[in-house]
């Protein structure tokens, strides 16, 4: 699940193109960032948080990760990330044992609840994380284990 190794320059060009398109469509919020290639390339929870420019992460009861205890299929694992913390600018979903740790990054605005659901691929059983990053660059996380089981028939 590694991202194709685009060079930093290509990635930047793509990001600029995206930003331009979104701006043209009037869709660019003030909080929009260029595609955070570095964070998507990171291979550990710590490296993702570092790449997102946040400080050492702390576990927090105010961050919630939802997901099944057991997934019948690692190709589709429903995950939810939410927080009740104030001043959160980003919510990320991470899968510790994937080749690339970060699955998705949601930029929070005042117009939406800091609560997102999506579905992720898990290469194997792993801890999954929700990480909330505040305006002042602090990272808070919650995690839970998702077991991926082997399916029937084997072929």
């Amino acid at each position: 699940m590694t991202l194709r190794r685009t060079s930093r320059r290509t990635a930047l060009q793509q990001s600029l193109a995206v930003a331009g398109m979104l701006a043209a469509a009037g869709l660019l919020p003030r909080t929009a960032l260029a595609y955070t290639q570095g964070a998507f390339d990171a291979k550990s929870v710590a490296d993702v948080i570092k790449a997102l420019g946040a400080g050492a992460p702390a576990e927090s009861k105010d961050v919630t990760i939802t997901g099944p205890d057991i997934a019948e299929n690692g190709a589709v694992v429903p995950l939810g990330a939410s927080t009740t913390l104030p001043n959160v600018k980003q919510l990320a979903m991470l899968v510790e044992k994937n080749p690339n740790t970060m699955v998705a990054l949601f930029n929070v605005t005042d117009a939406v609840e800091p609560n997102f659901l999506t579905r992720a691929k898990l290469g194997q059983s792993s801890d999954v994380y929700a990480v909330a990053i505040t305006d002042d660059g602090k990272a808070f996380y919650a995690k839970k284990e998702v077991k991926v089981t082997l399916g029937g028939c084997g072929g």
Partner: protein
């Protein structure tokens, strides 16, 4: 972080040491929870939308839509057709399932080559279009009860043929359909195996396909479902819309009579 990891390991060890019945129940609960989470937002919807467009679109050498296709309840009637298939069709003189019937309509109405489509690999070309069509047509009967007719002699014959195919032991592993789907309450790995010889299994199993397959991210019609069953059985290759597949459809569908159709469902 170190400390929480340790706790997690201990909790896991405790689970492993627990009584067998308890561990199994929690596994079943975990799987049930996973399936529940997937219900809201079944990607089969994407295929349904595409299928409805394809039904109405003028296509093929004859530049015609499928809107006059007779799925058994008269030309153009889609609602309720799915829960009565496979059935006998007088114009072709044979029992046909949904996919076989769509091939007939694509050939007669649109001028497409049915034999060529039947030879096309799953998920490619017109086979891709069939995924959408079966998803939409099945969805139009969602919530209705399976009610396959058995009034025509050929429909009754196909039931008997289907039954024999269902119990046919063969291949390198001596498997029959019945090896996995002939009894209640069985599992393969963690997947529940519906007993396709009677309800509720026959209705729940047969009535769920076409379905979105999570493992491949594709929509599988009953033809593809059966094709992969035969592959896993280590059988040779069943022709697309061949009589073996249609006969099995009759056998399962008749056994499931009265069950509610949930297709297109979402499956692992």
């Amino acid at each position: 972080m170190r400390k929480t990891t340790l706790c997690a390991v201990l909790a896991l060890a405790a689970t492993a040491a627990g009584p067998q019945a308890w561990a199994q129940k929690s596994t079943a609960d975990g799987i049930a929870e996973y399936r529940e989470m997937l219900q809201d937002g079944n990607p089969a919807e994407l295929f349904e939308a595409k299928g409805e467009d394809l039904w109405k679109q003028k296509r093929g050498p004859k530049a015609a839509s499928l809107e006059r296709c007779d799925l058994g309840r008269g030309p153009g009637v889609v609602k309720g057709a799915f829960v009565e298939l496979p059935r006998y069709f007088a114009d072709t003189g044979r029992v046909q399932d949904l996919e076989s019937r769509l091939l007939t309509c694509m050939e007669t109405l649109q001028g497409l080559n049915a034999a060529e489509i039947a030879r096309t690999p799953f998920g490619k070309g017109e086979q891709k279009n069939l995924e959408g069509l079966v998803a939409w047509i099945a969805a139009e009967s969602r919530g209705m009860k399976l009610n396959l007719p058995q009034s025509h002699a050929q429909e009754r014959q196909m039931y008997e043929v289907g039954k024999r195919v269902f119990y046919l032991r063969g291949g390198t592993h001596d498997f029959a359909c019945a090896s996995c789907h002939g009894a209640d309450g069985k599992r393969i790995r963690l997947q529940d195996l519906p007993n396709l010889t009677r309800n509720p299994g026959a209705g729940a199993g047969f009535g769920a396909w076409p379905a979105y397959r999570v493992s491949s991210g594709e929509l599988w019609g009953m033809q593809r479902r059966l094709n992969d069953c035969f592959r896993q059985q280590r059988f040779p290759y069943p022709g697309y819309a061949s009589d073996v597949t249609i006969a099995l459809g009759v056998f399962m569908g008749v056994n499931g009579k009265g069950s509610v159709s949930t297709a297109p469902a979402i499956k692992r």
